[in-house]
Subunit: 266 residues, 2 copies
């Protein structure tokens, strides 16, 4: 699954750390295509590492095809890491499957167990009550793009099997079993990829990921799903357009609502 | 500025890496208060480091007051790192100053220069044209919470000074100088804190940050501001509520729009 040279640098080593920071800066556009990177000497200062370490990080970026190093004229960024960035309708954060190409999911685990305390609290379920826990990796065009951990109350989950979940979005399974999905609350943040998630998403441990937590309720306000999703930022962005409307002191921003025709599972 | 024990662990070392990953997992709630952390032996496996390294990382977490280690009963999470998380109205992503307590900004740099190629392209300005570039850190209740880099076309920026920008939100300065702000496009992602940003935000290099890029246009569609903002995820989250409305195949999610009375600068 790895699509870069990071595996040639020892895990947790200084060269790998510098490589990850530079790769992230290139991917995020802080150093865009054509940009001249700072010199090796400046980097030893910035990252507080030796020149040898800087060179090893640059060697790896060069093997990735991300930079071009020329004696005398410095190091230039060739391209951002190959990405197939997709975006979600920001007004709902529900990714639009239509623009997503071929998608599939890999089921990494499926079990019935007591959830972590924090999840139980957020779901409003009794301490010790069991839930259906599943971990999936969503792939788009064969490449991993999100890592999804879901928790569903045991009695609701009784309506679907492991095989169902591997092939069908959880929403559809919930609605098929008679649940009336009525409301959701979401929060978005950023987090580091730990070893297991990194492995599943094909990124290095310590990569920055976008995180989204979603609590879904039915028409009785009961929590029917808790989702913890992690997205590769090189493959997924949230995008939105705003208009500034109104006059004088009532002037304010409003979202420009896009086509909501197509909806998919996260 | 540092509010944790990370400085006692060598920059770029393995113990610091494990410490950062564990701290991130505690902050994000993956290991919530009261949770039992995996044993030291399991951690050597997970993180591919020696037991000594695991212990050094745990020592630092203990000094932070985040965990409680007891011989025989394991290591428990005491609390999430102290945070004052604020949230933005997800329908606009414009943080609500009202809920933000005492806020202020520190101006780190103010200059007129040619922007990076990527920014010039996104702003639609001629190659070689100068812009006003400013870097600010926004503080809430005295603690850094966002790192803002802004680019404004030179002729518009001529209407404000360095002192104005240190004390007044950029929006107000633009509108004061007669710009009719009409539209914006935003995208949200995640990135790693490089050394300079980390220092300004009081976090360790390699911490995950939420990133937001915003392009603001006037009523002639001209770009009047490009903003690149980085947020500490322990201090800032995007939150939104959704309702599922409509019948049958027309059923879809809609954002629940909150009070838009108060608006602030990012």
């Amino acid at each position: 699954m790895p699509d870069d040279a990071r595996h040639e640098l020892p895990e947790g080593g200084k060269a790998r750390r510098v490589y990850l920071l530079l790769r992230d800066a290139i991917a995020s556009g802080a150093h865009g295509p054509g940009a001249l990177l700072p010199g090796e000497h400046a980097m030893t200062d910035t990252y507080q590492v030796s020149r040898v370490t800087v060179r090893r990080a640059l060697d790896a970026l060069e093997r990735d095809g991300l930079i071009d190093r020329r004696a005398g004229s410095g190091t230039r960024v060739l391209a951002a890491p190959a990405t197939a960035a997709m975006s979600a309708d920001m007004s709902t954060l529900i990714p639009q499957l239509v623009s997503m190409g071929q998608h599939s999911a890999r089921l990494l685990s499926f079990s019935y167990d007591t959830p972590p305390d924090r999840i139980a609290r957020e779901m409003g379920i009794a301490p010790g009550a069991r839930v259906q826990m599943a971990v999936r990796v969503r792939l788009v065009d064969g490449a991993p793009f999100s890592h999804l951990t879901t928790f569903v109350p045991e009695d609701i989950a009784a309506n679907y099997s492991e095989a169902d979940l591997a092939g069908t979005p959880l929403y559809q399974l919930l609605e098929r079993s008679g649940v009336v999905v009525a409301a959701a609350h979401q929060s978005v943040s950023a987090t580091l990829a730990g070893p297991e998630v990194a492995d599943a998403l094909g990124v290095a441990t310590g990569t920055a990921l976008m995180s989204l937590n979603r609590i879904v309720r039915d028409d009785d306000q009961r929590v029917v799903e808790y989702l913890s999703a992690l997205y590769r930022p090189d493959r997924f962005k949230l995008e939105m357009s705003l208009s500034r409307v109104g006059k004088g002191s009532a002037r304010h921003w409003e979202p420009v609502v896009g086509d909501r025709g197509a909806e998919g599972a996260p």
